[in-house]
Amino acid sequence: MRTPEPVSEAAPAGEVAPLLRLVLPSQTEFLGLVRDVTKRLGESAGFDGETAKQIALATDEAVSNVLEHAYGGRTDLELEVAFFCEGPDFRVDVMDTGVGVDPRHIPKVDLARYATERRTGGLGLHLMAKIMDSVTFSRKAPCNLCSLSKRRPQGPSPAA
């Protein structure tokens, strides 16, 4: 494995520091670890077990997208998953240094066509969007960032 460039640096002053930051090899065998950590932190952030599992699924999908599309199956690179509790929101950032994915080019899910055309692309993004309140993609060279956010069930009120 090559020595990686740091995918991200420490949070600048004024920005929320992550609860946890994982730097992982670009290998699918680490998806289980991502899932378990996400579920645990989701529950700690106040989500019930079932919702925490769904957030873990959305995170699994985001990481899988990086492995398949941004890194094209290469296993010698790294990616980063960072978890934040930012005000009322729980946020998971997935960062990579691969090929940027423009979500506008991902086909819309049409289940009827999927069943007859053997198409399966776009399901992961569709799941992420259904589970999370917000899914955004951005690029600041050389990094791609997929940010998944969901309002916590008992977040502080704006006045708090």
Binding site: R35, L57, R118
Partner: protein, 120 residues
Amino acid sequence: MSELVVESRQCDEVTLIYPRGFINAHTVRLFEGEIQKALADQRFKIVVNCAELAYIASAGLGAIMGSIEEIRENGGDLRLSELNETVRNIFEILGFNHLYRIFPSELEAVMSFRGEGAHA
């Protein structure tokens, strides 16, 4: 511990597939392979018993989507049974519950194939 174990057995004309654990991009080949094995044996009546399936990501759903046309073209079907809350929620989020027949028990899923003709 392995993330996924997949076993299968025959019950008359029906192939029963038992995924145990987690289906995602890392493990999907095992699950897909078991479906493909049934198709290679010309067995197109399939029940996936999800009683011990903890979790299924889009890779696993894609494996089902990728084989369903061939299965139905051959007069068969892929049906599911015993989905836990997590897996059922995922199916409902994607609308898969409208595309696939889902049964509370394996027996009901197997029995649903009875009287459907030579292939299904």
